[in-house]
Symmetry: C2
Subunit: 252 residues, 2 copies
Protein backbone atom coordinates (compact mmCIF):
# COMPACT_ATOMS: atom_id res chain seq x y z
CA UNK A 1 0.00 0.00 0.00
CA UNK A 2 2.91 2.39 0.63
CA UNK A 3 1.51 5.91 0.71
CA UNK A 4 -2.06 4.67 1.03
CA UNK A 5 -1.35 3.68 4.62
CA UNK A 6 -0.59 7.27 5.64
CA UNK A 7 -3.73 9.45 5.83
CA UNK A 8 -1.64 12.62 5.95
CA UNK A 9 -0.21 11.97 2.47
CA UNK A 10 -1.76 14.42 -0.01
CA UNK A 11 -2.65 11.57 -2.37
CA UNK A 12 -3.94 9.30 0.43
CA UNK A 13 -7.52 8.94 -0.81
CA UNK A 14 -6.47 8.53 -4.44
CA UNK A 15 -3.95 5.81 -3.55
CA UNK A 16 -6.38 4.12 -1.18
CA UNK A 17 -9.01 3.93 -3.94
CA UNK A 18 -6.48 2.36 -6.33
CA UNK A 19 -5.57 -0.16 -3.65
CA UNK A 20 -9.24 -1.04 -3.12
CA UNK A 21 -9.67 -1.59 -6.88
CA UNK A 22 -6.60 -3.85 -7.02
CA UNK A 23 -7.98 -5.97 -4.18
CA UNK A 24 -11.39 -6.17 -5.88
CA UNK A 25 -9.83 -7.09 -9.23
CA UNK A 26 -8.08 -10.06 -7.60
CA UNK A 27 -11.44 -11.21 -6.18
CA UNK A 28 -13.01 -11.15 -9.68
CA UNK A 29 -15.42 -8.36 -8.78
CA UNK A 30 -14.61 -5.97 -11.63
CA UNK A 31 -15.44 -5.64 -15.32
CA UNK A 32 -12.58 -5.42 -17.85
CA UNK A 33 -13.24 -1.71 -18.27
CA UNK A 34 -13.14 -0.95 -14.52
CA UNK A 35 -9.63 0.49 -14.32
CA UNK A 36 -10.05 2.71 -17.40
CA UNK A 37 -13.35 4.02 -16.01
CA UNK A 38 -11.64 4.76 -12.71
CA UNK A 39 -8.83 6.62 -14.47
CA UNK A 40 -11.40 8.84 -16.20
CA UNK A 41 -12.87 9.60 -12.79
CA UNK A 42 -9.43 10.43 -11.40
CA UNK A 43 -8.90 13.00 -14.16
CA UNK A 44 -12.18 14.78 -13.40
CA UNK A 45 -11.54 14.70 -9.66
CA UNK A 46 -8.11 16.23 -10.22
CA UNK A 47 -9.74 19.02 -12.24
CA UNK A 48 -12.30 19.57 -9.45
CA UNK A 49 -9.43 19.99 -6.96
CA UNK A 50 -10.18 16.65 -5.25
CA UNK A 51 -12.69 18.36 -3.01
CA UNK A 52 -16.46 18.39 -2.46
CA UNK A 53 -17.63 21.60 -4.12
CA UNK A 54 -20.54 23.48 -2.46
CA UNK A 55 -23.10 22.57 -5.16
CA UNK A 56 -22.23 18.88 -4.72
CA UNK A 57 -22.79 19.18 -0.99
CA UNK A 58 -26.25 20.70 -1.61
CA UNK A 59 -27.06 17.98 -4.16
CA UNK A 60 -25.99 15.30 -1.64
CA UNK A 61 -28.31 16.78 1.00
CA UNK A 62 -31.20 16.90 -1.47
CA UNK A 63 -30.45 13.32 -2.52
CA UNK A 64 -30.36 12.01 1.04
CA UNK A 65 -33.65 13.73 1.85
CA UNK A 66 -35.29 12.32 -1.31
CA UNK A 67 -34.14 8.82 -0.38
CA UNK A 68 -35.32 9.15 3.25
CA UNK A 69 -38.73 10.44 2.18
CA UNK A 70 -39.25 7.82 -0.55
CA UNK A 71 -41.63 4.92 -0.02
CA UNK A 72 -39.30 2.34 -1.59
CA UNK A 73 -35.75 3.69 -1.73
CA UNK A 74 -33.02 1.39 -3.10
CA UNK A 75 -29.24 1.74 -3.43
CA UNK A 76 -27.90 0.12 -6.61
CA UNK A 77 -24.25 -1.02 -6.63
CA UNK A 78 -21.96 -2.30 -9.38
CA UNK A 79 -18.41 -3.67 -9.26
CA UNK A 80 -16.54 -0.39 -8.95
CA UNK A 81 -18.97 0.89 -6.32
CA UNK A 82 -18.52 -2.18 -4.09
CA UNK A 83 -14.75 -2.01 -4.57
CA UNK A 84 -14.41 1.70 -3.85
CA UNK A 85 -17.03 2.14 -1.16
CA UNK A 86 -18.79 -1.10 -0.24
CA UNK A 87 -18.72 -0.32 3.49
CA UNK A 88 -20.01 3.21 3.00
CA UNK A 89 -22.87 2.02 0.78
CA UNK A 90 -23.92 -0.52 3.42
CA UNK A 91 -23.79 2.16 6.12
CA UNK A 92 -25.88 4.49 3.98
CA UNK A 93 -28.47 1.74 3.37
CA UNK A 94 -28.56 1.22 7.13
CA UNK A 95 -28.96 4.97 7.79
CA UNK A 96 -31.84 5.23 5.29
CA UNK A 97 -33.30 1.84 6.22
CA UNK A 98 -33.45 0.51 2.68
CA UNK A 99 -32.13 -2.45 0.69
CA UNK A 100 -29.00 -2.46 -1.46
CA UNK A 101 -29.14 -4.27 -4.82
CA UNK A 102 -26.17 -5.59 -6.79
CA UNK A 103 -26.91 -4.63 -10.38
CA UNK A 104 -24.10 -4.88 -12.91
CA UNK A 105 -23.84 -4.04 -16.59
CA UNK A 106 -21.60 -6.98 -17.59
CA UNK A 107 -23.51 -9.59 -15.62
CA UNK A 108 -21.93 -13.01 -15.16
CA UNK A 109 -22.69 -15.53 -12.39
CA UNK A 110 -19.02 -15.36 -11.27
CA UNK A 111 -19.00 -11.59 -10.83
CA UNK A 112 -22.41 -11.61 -9.11
CA UNK A 113 -21.15 -14.28 -6.68
CA UNK A 114 -17.93 -12.37 -5.97
CA UNK A 115 -19.83 -9.14 -5.29
CA UNK A 116 -22.55 -10.71 -3.14
CA UNK A 117 -19.97 -12.65 -1.11
CA UNK A 118 -17.88 -9.52 -0.56
CA UNK A 119 -20.90 -7.44 0.50
CA UNK A 120 -22.18 -10.10 2.87
CA UNK A 121 -18.75 -10.36 4.50
CA UNK A 122 -18.61 -6.60 4.90
CA UNK A 123 -22.13 -6.54 6.36
CA UNK A 124 -21.11 -9.21 8.88
CA UNK A 125 -18.00 -7.28 9.88
CA UNK A 126 -19.92 -4.02 10.24
CA UNK A 127 -22.67 -5.77 12.21
CA UNK A 128 -25.39 -4.16 10.10
CA UNK A 129 -28.87 -5.45 9.28
CA UNK A 130 -29.23 -4.52 5.61
CA UNK A 131 -31.09 -6.46 2.89
CA UNK A 132 -28.67 -7.30 0.08
CA UNK A 133 -30.58 -8.04 -3.13
CA UNK A 134 -29.50 -9.10 -6.61
CA UNK A 135 -29.06 -12.87 -6.26
CA UNK A 136 -32.58 -13.67 -7.47
CA UNK A 137 -33.47 -11.43 -10.43
CA UNK A 138 -37.18 -11.93 -11.14
CA UNK A 139 -37.88 -8.74 -13.12
CA UNK A 140 -36.46 -6.64 -15.94
CA UNK A 141 -35.89 -2.92 -16.45
CA UNK A 142 -38.02 -2.01 -19.52
CA UNK A 143 -36.04 -0.71 -22.48
CA UNK A 144 -32.85 -2.65 -21.77
CA UNK A 145 -31.77 -5.86 -23.47
CA UNK A 146 -30.05 -8.99 -22.16
CA UNK A 147 -28.51 -9.66 -18.73
CA UNK A 148 -28.04 -5.95 -18.03
CA UNK A 149 -31.84 -5.54 -17.76
CA UNK A 150 -32.18 -8.01 -14.87
CA UNK A 151 -33.29 -6.77 -11.45
CA UNK A 152 -35.38 -7.79 -8.45
CA UNK A 153 -39.10 -7.02 -8.22
CA UNK A 154 -38.89 -6.04 -4.54
CA UNK A 155 -35.77 -3.97 -5.18
CA UNK A 156 -35.05 -1.83 -8.23
CA UNK A 157 -38.31 -2.61 -10.06
CA UNK A 158 -40.59 -1.17 -7.37
CA UNK A 159 -38.22 1.59 -6.18
CA UNK A 160 -39.54 5.15 -6.34
CA UNK A 161 -36.12 6.64 -5.52
CA UNK A 162 -32.85 4.96 -6.48
CA UNK A 163 -29.20 5.84 -5.94
CA UNK A 164 -27.03 4.76 -8.88
CA UNK A 165 -23.39 5.74 -8.38
CA UNK A 166 -21.05 5.40 -11.40
CA UNK A 167 -23.93 4.23 -13.59
CA UNK A 168 -23.99 3.55 -17.33
CA UNK A 169 -25.91 6.14 -19.37
CA UNK A 170 -28.35 3.70 -20.99
CA UNK A 171 -29.36 2.24 -17.66
CA UNK A 172 -29.70 5.64 -16.06
CA UNK A 173 -32.05 6.71 -18.88
CA UNK A 174 -34.09 3.50 -18.60
CA UNK A 175 -34.60 4.08 -14.86
CA UNK A 176 -35.61 7.72 -15.43
CA UNK A 177 -38.09 6.54 -18.10
CA UNK A 178 -39.73 4.32 -15.43
CA UNK A 179 -40.63 7.51 -13.53
CA UNK A 180 -38.21 6.98 -10.65
CA UNK A 181 -36.23 9.70 -8.87
CA UNK A 182 -32.76 8.70 -10.10
CA UNK A 183 -29.83 9.97 -8.02
CA UNK A 184 -26.48 9.89 -9.81
CA UNK A 185 -22.99 10.18 -8.29
CA UNK A 186 -20.55 10.87 -11.15
CA UNK A 187 -17.35 12.92 -11.43
CA UNK A 188 -17.99 13.90 -15.05
CA UNK A 189 -20.66 16.62 -15.21
CA UNK A 190 -20.90 16.08 -18.98
CA UNK A 191 -21.67 12.34 -18.84
CA UNK A 192 -25.03 11.10 -20.05
CA UNK A 193 -25.82 9.77 -16.56
CA UNK A 194 -25.03 13.16 -15.00
CA UNK A 195 -27.23 14.94 -17.49
CA UNK A 196 -30.16 12.52 -17.47
CA UNK A 197 -30.33 11.84 -13.74
CA UNK A 198 -33.00 13.51 -11.57
CA UNK A 199 -30.41 14.62 -8.99
CA UNK A 200 -26.69 14.53 -9.76
CA UNK A 201 -23.87 14.76 -7.24
CA UNK A 202 -20.58 15.61 -9.00
CA UNK A 203 -18.18 14.23 -6.40
CA UNK A 204 -15.81 11.37 -5.72
CA UNK A 205 -17.84 8.39 -4.48
CA UNK A 206 -16.22 7.64 -1.12
CA UNK A 207 -15.91 11.35 -0.25
CA UNK A 208 -19.57 11.91 -1.13
CA UNK A 209 -20.74 8.93 0.93
CA UNK A 210 -18.67 9.91 3.97
CA UNK A 211 -20.26 13.33 3.69
CA UNK A 212 -23.78 11.87 3.47
CA UNK A 213 -23.13 9.56 6.42
CA UNK A 214 -22.21 12.57 8.57
CA UNK A 215 -25.30 14.63 7.66
CA UNK A 216 -27.92 15.44 10.28
CA UNK A 217 -31.11 14.13 8.71
CA UNK A 218 -33.31 16.81 10.30
CA UNK A 219 -31.63 19.74 8.57
CA UNK A 220 -31.42 18.62 4.94
CA UNK A 221 -32.08 20.89 1.97
CA UNK A 222 -35.18 19.77 0.07
CA UNK A 223 -35.76 19.12 -3.63
CA UNK A 224 -37.41 22.53 -4.31
CA UNK A 225 -34.06 24.25 -3.91
CA UNK A 226 -32.27 21.90 -6.34
CA UNK A 227 -31.55 23.25 -9.84
CA UNK A 228 -30.25 20.35 -11.93
CA UNK A 229 -28.71 22.31 -14.80
CA UNK A 230 -27.17 24.86 -12.44
CA UNK A 231 -25.65 22.05 -10.37
CA UNK A 232 -23.94 20.62 -13.45
CA UNK A 233 -22.86 24.08 -14.61
CA UNK A 234 -21.40 24.80 -11.15
CA UNK A 235 -19.26 21.68 -11.46
CA UNK A 236 -18.08 22.76 -14.92
CA UNK A 237 -17.36 26.23 -13.57
CA UNK A 238 -15.26 24.75 -10.77
CA UNK A 239 -13.20 22.91 -13.39
CA UNK A 240 -13.00 25.94 -15.68
CA UNK A 241 -12.01 28.24 -12.82
CA UNK A 242 -8.66 26.52 -12.45
CA UNK A 243 -7.89 26.64 -16.16
CA UNK A 244 -8.53 30.18 -17.32
CA UNK A 245 -5.44 32.32 -17.61
CA UNK A 246 -3.44 29.69 -15.77
CA UNK A 247 -0.40 29.98 -18.02
CA UNK A 248 -1.09 33.40 -19.55
CA UNK A 249 -0.88 34.95 -16.08
CA UNK A 250 2.47 33.29 -15.51
CA UNK A 251 3.84 35.11 -18.56
CA UNK A 252 2.94 38.59 -17.44
CA UNK B 1 -13.07 -6.09 -30.96
CA UNK B 2 -16.69 -5.33 -31.94
CA UNK B 3 -16.89 -1.65 -32.79
CA UNK B 4 -13.11 -1.29 -33.02
CA UNK B 5 -13.19 -3.21 -36.32
CA UNK B 6 -15.30 -0.51 -37.98
CA UNK B 7 -13.34 2.70 -38.70
CA UNK B 8 -16.56 4.63 -39.37
CA UNK B 9 -17.74 4.12 -35.78
CA UNK B 10 -17.47 7.44 -33.88
CA UNK B 11 -15.58 5.74 -31.07
CA UNK B 12 -13.33 3.72 -33.39
CA UNK B 13 -9.98 5.13 -32.25
CA UNK B 14 -10.93 5.04 -28.58
CA UNK B 15 -12.05 1.40 -28.82
CA UNK B 16 -9.02 0.46 -30.91
CA UNK B 17 -6.69 1.91 -28.27
CA UNK B 18 -8.44 -0.06 -25.51
CA UNK B 19 -8.10 -3.20 -27.60
CA UNK B 20 -4.37 -2.56 -28.09
CA UNK B 21 -3.93 -2.14 -24.31
CA UNK B 22 -5.78 -5.40 -23.61
CA UNK B 23 -3.52 -7.26 -26.03
CA UNK B 24 -0.41 -5.69 -24.46
CA UNK B 25 -1.60 -6.50 -20.92
CA UNK B 26 -1.89 -10.19 -21.89
CA UNK B 27 1.70 -10.07 -23.17
CA UNK B 28 2.95 -8.68 -19.82
CA UNK B 29 4.01 -5.38 -21.34
CA UNK B 30 2.14 -3.04 -19.00
CA UNK B 31 2.60 -1.68 -15.47
CA UNK B 32 -0.20 -2.17 -12.93
CA UNK B 33 -1.17 1.47 -13.29
CA UNK B 34 -1.41 1.36 -17.11
CA UNK B 35 -5.19 1.15 -17.43
CA UNK B 36 -5.86 3.89 -14.88
CA UNK B 37 -3.35 6.17 -16.63
CA UNK B 38 -5.07 5.45 -19.94
CA UNK B 39 -8.46 6.28 -18.46
CA UNK B 40 -7.16 9.66 -17.32
CA UNK B 41 -5.97 10.28 -20.88
CA UNK B 42 -9.38 9.30 -22.25
CA UNK B 43 -11.05 11.91 -20.04
CA UNK B 44 -8.79 14.71 -21.26
CA UNK B 45 -9.15 13.64 -24.89
CA UNK B 46 -12.93 13.67 -24.50
CA UNK B 47 -12.72 17.22 -23.12
CA UNK B 48 -10.50 18.24 -26.08
CA UNK B 49 -13.16 16.93 -28.47
CA UNK B 50 -11.01 13.94 -29.52
CA UNK B 51 -9.32 16.06 -32.16
CA UNK B 52 -5.88 17.55 -32.84
CA UNK B 53 -6.24 21.22 -31.92
CA UNK B 54 -4.30 23.78 -34.02
CA UNK B 55 -1.74 24.58 -31.31
CA UNK B 56 -0.97 20.85 -30.97
CA UNK B 57 -0.40 20.62 -34.71
CA UNK B 58 2.07 23.53 -34.54
CA UNK B 59 3.82 21.96 -31.53
CA UNK B 60 4.08 18.65 -33.42
CA UNK B 61 5.71 20.41 -36.39
CA UNK B 62 8.17 22.20 -34.11
CA UNK B 63 8.92 18.91 -32.34
CA UNK B 64 9.55 17.01 -35.56
CA UNK B 65 11.86 19.75 -36.83
CA UNK B 66 13.79 19.81 -33.53
CA UNK B 67 14.26 16.02 -33.69
CA UNK B 68 15.35 16.11 -37.35
CA UNK B 69 17.87 18.87 -36.69
CA UNK B 70 19.30 17.30 -33.53
CA UNK B 71 22.70 15.62 -33.56
CA UNK B 72 21.57 12.67 -31.42
CA UNK B 73 17.78 12.42 -31.41
CA UNK B 74 16.20 9.50 -29.52
CA UNK B 75 12.61 8.32 -29.11
CA UNK B 76 11.91 6.94 -25.62
CA UNK B 77 9.08 4.40 -25.25
CA UNK B 78 7.39 2.85 -22.22
CA UNK B 79 4.75 0.13 -21.92
CA UNK B 80 1.70 2.19 -22.79
CA UNK B 81 3.51 3.83 -25.72
CA UNK B 82 4.49 0.49 -27.27
CA UNK B 83 0.97 -0.85 -26.68
CA UNK B 84 -0.86 2.16 -28.11
CA UNK B 85 1.47 3.13 -30.95
CA UNK B 86 4.46 0.79 -31.28
CA UNK B 87 4.26 0.73 -35.08
CA UNK B 88 3.93 4.50 -35.35
CA UNK B 89 6.91 5.09 -33.04
CA UNK B 90 9.06 2.74 -35.17
CA UNK B 91 7.94 4.54 -38.35
CA UNK B 92 8.77 7.89 -36.78
CA UNK B 93 12.24 6.67 -35.74
CA UNK B 94 12.72 5.50 -39.34
CA UNK B 95 11.54 8.85 -40.73
CA UNK B 96 13.93 10.76 -38.46
CA UNK B 97 16.72 8.20 -38.76
CA UNK B 98 17.24 7.77 -35.02
CA UNK B 99 17.16 4.99 -32.43
CA UNK B 100 14.26 4.11 -30.21
CA UNK B 101 14.94 3.20 -26.56
CA UNK B 102 12.71 1.19 -24.26
CA UNK B 103 12.81 3.03 -20.96
CA UNK B 104 10.25 2.15 -18.33
CA UNK B 105 9.47 3.49 -14.90
CA UNK B 106 8.63 0.16 -13.24
CA UNK B 107 11.55 -1.75 -14.72
CA UNK B 108 11.54 -5.55 -14.42
CA UNK B 109 13.42 -8.01 -16.67
CA UNK B 110 10.09 -9.61 -17.66
CA UNK B 111 8.53 -6.35 -18.82
CA UNK B 112 11.68 -5.27 -20.64
CA UNK B 113 11.77 -8.65 -22.46
CA UNK B 114 8.09 -8.42 -23.40
CA UNK B 115 8.50 -4.90 -24.77
CA UNK B 116 11.74 -5.59 -26.69
CA UNK B 117 10.29 -8.79 -28.18
CA UNK B 118 7.12 -6.98 -29.26
CA UNK B 119 9.05 -4.09 -30.83
CA UNK B 120 11.43 -6.38 -32.68
CA UNK B 121 8.49 -8.37 -34.09
CA UNK B 122 6.83 -5.15 -35.22
CA UNK B 123 10.07 -3.92 -36.80
CA UNK B 124 10.38 -7.22 -38.72
CA UNK B 125 6.80 -7.00 -39.95
CA UNK B 126 7.19 -3.38 -41.02
CA UNK B 127 10.53 -4.15 -42.73
CA UNK B 128 12.20 -1.18 -41.05
CA UNK B 129 15.88 -0.72 -40.14
CA UNK B 130 15.63 0.98 -36.73
CA UNK B 131 17.99 0.56 -33.76
CA UNK B 132 16.01 -0.63 -30.74
CA UNK B 133 17.90 0.13 -27.52
CA UNK B 134 17.19 -0.59 -23.87
CA UNK B 135 18.39 -4.19 -23.45
CA UNK B 136 21.86 -3.18 -22.22
CA UNK B 137 21.59 -0.25 -19.81
CA UNK B 138 25.12 1.00 -19.17
CA UNK B 139 24.34 4.50 -17.89
CA UNK B 140 22.04 6.33 -15.49
CA UNK B 141 19.94 9.50 -15.70
CA UNK B 142 21.35 11.79 -12.96
CA UNK B 143 18.88 12.71 -10.22
CA UNK B 144 16.81 9.51 -10.43
CA UNK B 145 17.09 6.53 -8.08
CA UNK B 146 16.89 2.79 -8.67
CA UNK B 147 15.94 0.88 -11.83
CA UNK B 148 14.00 3.84 -13.23
CA UNK B 149 17.30 5.73 -13.74
CA UNK B 150 18.79 3.13 -16.10
CA UNK B 151 19.43 4.02 -19.74
CA UNK B 152 21.91 3.40 -22.56
CA UNK B 153 24.97 5.59 -23.07
CA UNK B 154 24.56 5.65 -26.86
CA UNK B 155 20.82 6.31 -26.53
CA UNK B 156 19.12 8.49 -23.94
CA UNK B 157 22.33 9.52 -22.11
CA UNK B 158 23.94 11.23 -25.12
CA UNK B 159 20.69 12.45 -26.76
CA UNK B 160 20.40 16.20 -27.34
CA UNK B 161 16.71 15.94 -28.31
CA UNK B 162 14.40 13.27 -26.91
CA UNK B 163 10.75 12.42 -27.47
CA UNK B 164 9.08 11.14 -24.27
CA UNK B 165 5.39 10.38 -24.81
CA UNK B 166 3.26 9.70 -21.72
CA UNK B 167 6.24 10.29 -19.44
CA UNK B 168 6.42 10.44 -15.65
CA UNK B 169 6.98 13.95 -14.25
CA UNK B 170 10.14 13.10 -12.27
CA UNK B 171 11.83 11.57 -15.28
CA UNK B 172 10.80 14.44 -17.53
CA UNK B 173 12.33 16.91 -15.08
CA UNK B 174 15.54 14.87 -14.79
CA UNK B 175 15.95 14.87 -18.59
CA UNK B 176 15.33 18.62 -18.79
CA UNK B 177 17.94 19.14 -16.05
CA UNK B 178 20.46 17.33 -18.29
CA UNK B 179 20.05 20.17 -20.81
CA UNK B 180 18.22 18.11 -23.44
CA UNK B 181 15.38 19.36 -25.63
CA UNK B 182 12.59 17.25 -24.10
CA UNK B 183 9.49 16.76 -26.26
CA UNK B 184 6.39 15.63 -24.37
CA UNK B 185 3.17 14.14 -25.76
CA UNK B 186 0.54 14.29 -23.02
CA UNK B 187 -3.23 14.82 -23.02
CA UNK B 188 -3.22 16.68 -19.70
CA UNK B 189 -1.94 20.25 -20.19
CA UNK B 190 -1.69 20.59 -16.40
CA UNK B 191 0.58 17.58 -15.81
CA UNK B 192 4.10 18.13 -14.53
CA UNK B 193 5.53 16.58 -17.71
CA UNK B 194 3.47 18.95 -19.88
CA UNK B 195 4.61 21.94 -17.87
CA UNK B 196 8.27 21.01 -17.51
CA UNK B 197 8.90 19.74 -21.07
CA UNK B 198 10.73 21.93 -23.63
CA UNK B 199 8.04 21.32 -26.27
CA UNK B 200 4.66 19.84 -25.35
CA UNK B 201 2.12 18.36 -27.75
CA UNK B 202 -1.29 18.10 -26.07
CA UNK B 203 -2.77 15.38 -28.25
CA UNK B 204 -3.71 11.70 -28.25
CA UNK B 205 -0.55 9.67 -28.96
CA UNK B 206 -1.55 7.67 -32.04
CA UNK B 207 -3.33 10.64 -33.62
CA UNK B 208 -0.29 12.84 -33.00
CA UNK B 209 2.11 10.29 -34.47
CA UNK B 210 -0.03 9.69 -37.56
CA UNK B 211 -0.03 13.46 -38.05
CA UNK B 212 3.76 13.67 -37.67
CA UNK B 213 4.28 10.77 -40.07
CA UNK B 214 2.30 12.63 -42.76
CA UNK B 215 4.19 15.92 -42.38
CA UNK B 216 6.38 17.22 -45.21
CA UNK B 217 9.73 17.70 -43.53
CA UNK B 218 10.69 20.69 -45.71
CA UNK B 219 7.84 22.92 -44.53
CA UNK B 220 7.95 22.56 -40.75
CA UNK B 221 7.46 25.42 -38.31
CA UNK B 222 10.65 26.09 -36.34
CA UNK B 223 11.26 26.49 -32.62
CA UNK B 224 11.31 30.34 -32.70
CA UNK B 225 7.57 30.38 -33.30
CA UNK B 226 6.81 28.05 -30.39
CA UNK B 227 5.42 29.61 -27.21
CA UNK B 228 5.35 26.91 -24.51
CA UNK B 229 3.00 28.57 -22.03
CA UNK B 230 0.65 29.73 -24.79
CA UNK B 231 0.54 26.19 -26.20
CA UNK B 232 -0.56 24.82 -22.83
CA UNK B 233 -3.04 27.66 -22.34
CA UNK B 234 -4.50 27.02 -25.83
CA UNK B 235 -5.16 23.41 -24.81
CA UNK B 236 -6.85 24.55 -21.58
CA UNK B 237 -8.88 27.07 -23.57
CA UNK B 238 -10.04 24.31 -25.93
CA UNK B 239 -11.26 22.34 -22.91
CA UNK B 240 -12.81 25.40 -21.26
CA UNK B 241 -14.55 26.44 -24.50
CA UNK B 242 -16.84 23.43 -24.37
CA UNK B 243 -17.76 23.97 -20.72
CA UNK B 244 -18.71 27.58 -20.32
CA UNK B 245 -22.44 28.25 -20.32
CA UNK B 246 -23.10 24.73 -21.49
CA UNK B 247 -26.06 24.16 -19.22
CA UNK B 248 -26.92 27.79 -18.48
CA UNK B 249 -27.62 28.32 -22.18
CA UNK B 250 -29.93 25.33 -22.20
CA UNK B 251 -32.05 27.01 -19.52
CA UNK B 252 -32.67 30.22 -21.44
Amino acid sequence: MDHAADPSHPRYRSLLMRHRLEVAAKKGMLADSAMIAHGRGEAYDYLLGETTIPSADVAAQVALKALMQAEHPVLSVNGNVVALAGDEMLKLADKIGCPLEVNIFYRTPERMDALLTDLNERKEQLGLDVDILGANPDAVIPGLKGPRAKCEAKGILQADAILVPLEDGDRCEALVAMGKTVIVIDLNPLSRSSQRGSITIVDELSRCLENMLKMETEALTSLDSYDHMQTLQDALNAIVGGMQNKFSEAKE
